[in-house]
């Protein structure tokens, strides 16, 4: 795909695997809950259950951070909370801007988990002049014209895009031009960004479609081979030959726990 990326052989050292990074927030949440209940220590088994993973994985994950446990005992909750927070960069506060204050943007602005762990909503931005000044979650919405100014003045480096798909790339370009280097995209579009900018995306309909896939599989297994529910089957537009057989009924689908989100570093 065009560019080609330098394919750096990995500078080694403190390279925490991406899969592990993606689970750290999970552990952190579980640990925070324990901390609130004043639980002093926890074993890998207990913590793993609370976080919804298995203990081997958890121990391996923690081993990348260092040896923070005590053999025969477990992990010190407070200490781990601090170590993971630090590793994730949550010991500092990250100002965040949310662009696109529709239902979703409002939901994000109101989301408590935001403010609690290291993030601060620095501004809400919307293209609708009618929204300007209106407070959402206690923060007055500002107009898109102010975008660059807001980002620069607040030293914002993380932006959340909650606009309609059509506006996303444009907003993204402006965010990046203004100095944003991490973007969380809720719009159902592929964003193109320059090298060095991270984009993570959250996509409703994609998640649903993946569920539908598995749901269909389950139905197929139960009834053996429904072959294709009765009904209007749009005929293949071209006279391709079917690869070999029909939609085979098979495969006892049931993957293990898998879990690995995405980073697309530009």
């Amino acid at each position: 795909m065009a560019t080609g990326r330098t394919h750096r052989p990995a500078t080694r050292s403190r390279g925490i695997p991406e899969a592990t990074v993606a689970r750290l927030p999970l552990y952190l949440r579980a640990l925070t809950a324990l901390s609130e209940r004043s639980v002093p220590t926890v074993s890998s088994e207990e913590l793993a259950t609370a976080a919804g993973v298995n203990s081997a994985k958890l121990r391996k994950d923690f081993s990348y951070l260092g040896s923070y446990g005590t053999r025969g005992v477990g992990y010190d909750v407070e200490y781990l909370v601090y170590q993971i927070s630090r590793e994730l960069g949550l010991t500092q506060d990250w100002p965040v801007v949310i662009v696109g204050i529709g239902n979703l943007g409002a939901a994000l602005a109101n989301y408590g988990g935001f403010a609690s762990r290291g993030f601060r909503v620095a501004a809400l931005i919307d293209a609708d002049p009618g929204m300007a000044g209106k407070p959402v979650a206690g923060i007055p919405v500002q107009h898109t014209d102010e975008l660059e100014k807001i980002i620069t003045e607040n030293g914002v480096s993380i932006g959340v895009i909650a606009t309609p798909a059509g506006a996303a790339q444009q907003v993204c370009d402006r965010l990046v031009a203004a100095g944003i280097t991490s973007i969380l995209n809720f719009a159902p579009t592929v964003l193109t960004v320059p090298d060095g900018v991270d984009v993570r995306k959250v996509d409703l309909s994609i998640e649903l479609q993946i569920l539908a896939f598995h749901e269909q599989r389950k139905a197929g297994e139960e009834v053996a081979a429904p072959e294709e529910a009765a009904g209007a089957v749009p005929p293949p537009p071209v006279a391709h030959r079917a690869p070999s057989a029909g939609p085979g009924a098979d495969s006892g689908r049931q993957g293990p726990d898998g879990d690995v989100p995405a980073v697309m570093p530009a």
Copy 2:
């Protein structure tokens, strides 16, 4: 972790890799856009760019579905749209219930991409009696008491949880008991479900935390080794020795495109 899962040796056959399944919706979206512009065929290179992946990956992915392309030419857009839709189970309509109609639930109810591709919002459910009857996105909200009835009568198998964290597990249990077998969870909690039920989760603050991690890395690289921004560093509660050194400045972080969501089949 309790259960232990039968560890089936994979029944082989039509087993499409999970990573591939997770990308099919992406391809489908790109293809739908092409279809709307009446583009008849597309090469793996073009389609891959539109979907934000590389062409080798795309071809490999398609190879699991069958040989739907034409060498020297590319893929027939309409035909591929149909094949992928069918593979994902989108040729049938999936009724969906959304539980928890706050800002987020409302955003989901209003989300167009929902209705467009194979999904139909069968009902909106909320625990607040004051919401009952109030229409959101043109659909009247129903009270939680009706939950079981709604699911049974509409043959709903997919549920979306958009409640506060505290209510999520309880709602989940009721959904499952009523016959739901796929859940999309927006509440920041680990859900426990019986075997055979798929759960996918979307978690705002987790995504942000992952971004913060990478953001921190970037900052660290620029300044070489900030060692720990000045300020109150909560001292390790216990006198553990630091693993070896401070937060080493290193590792030219820059993973390849990676992308792989999660299924946690119970």
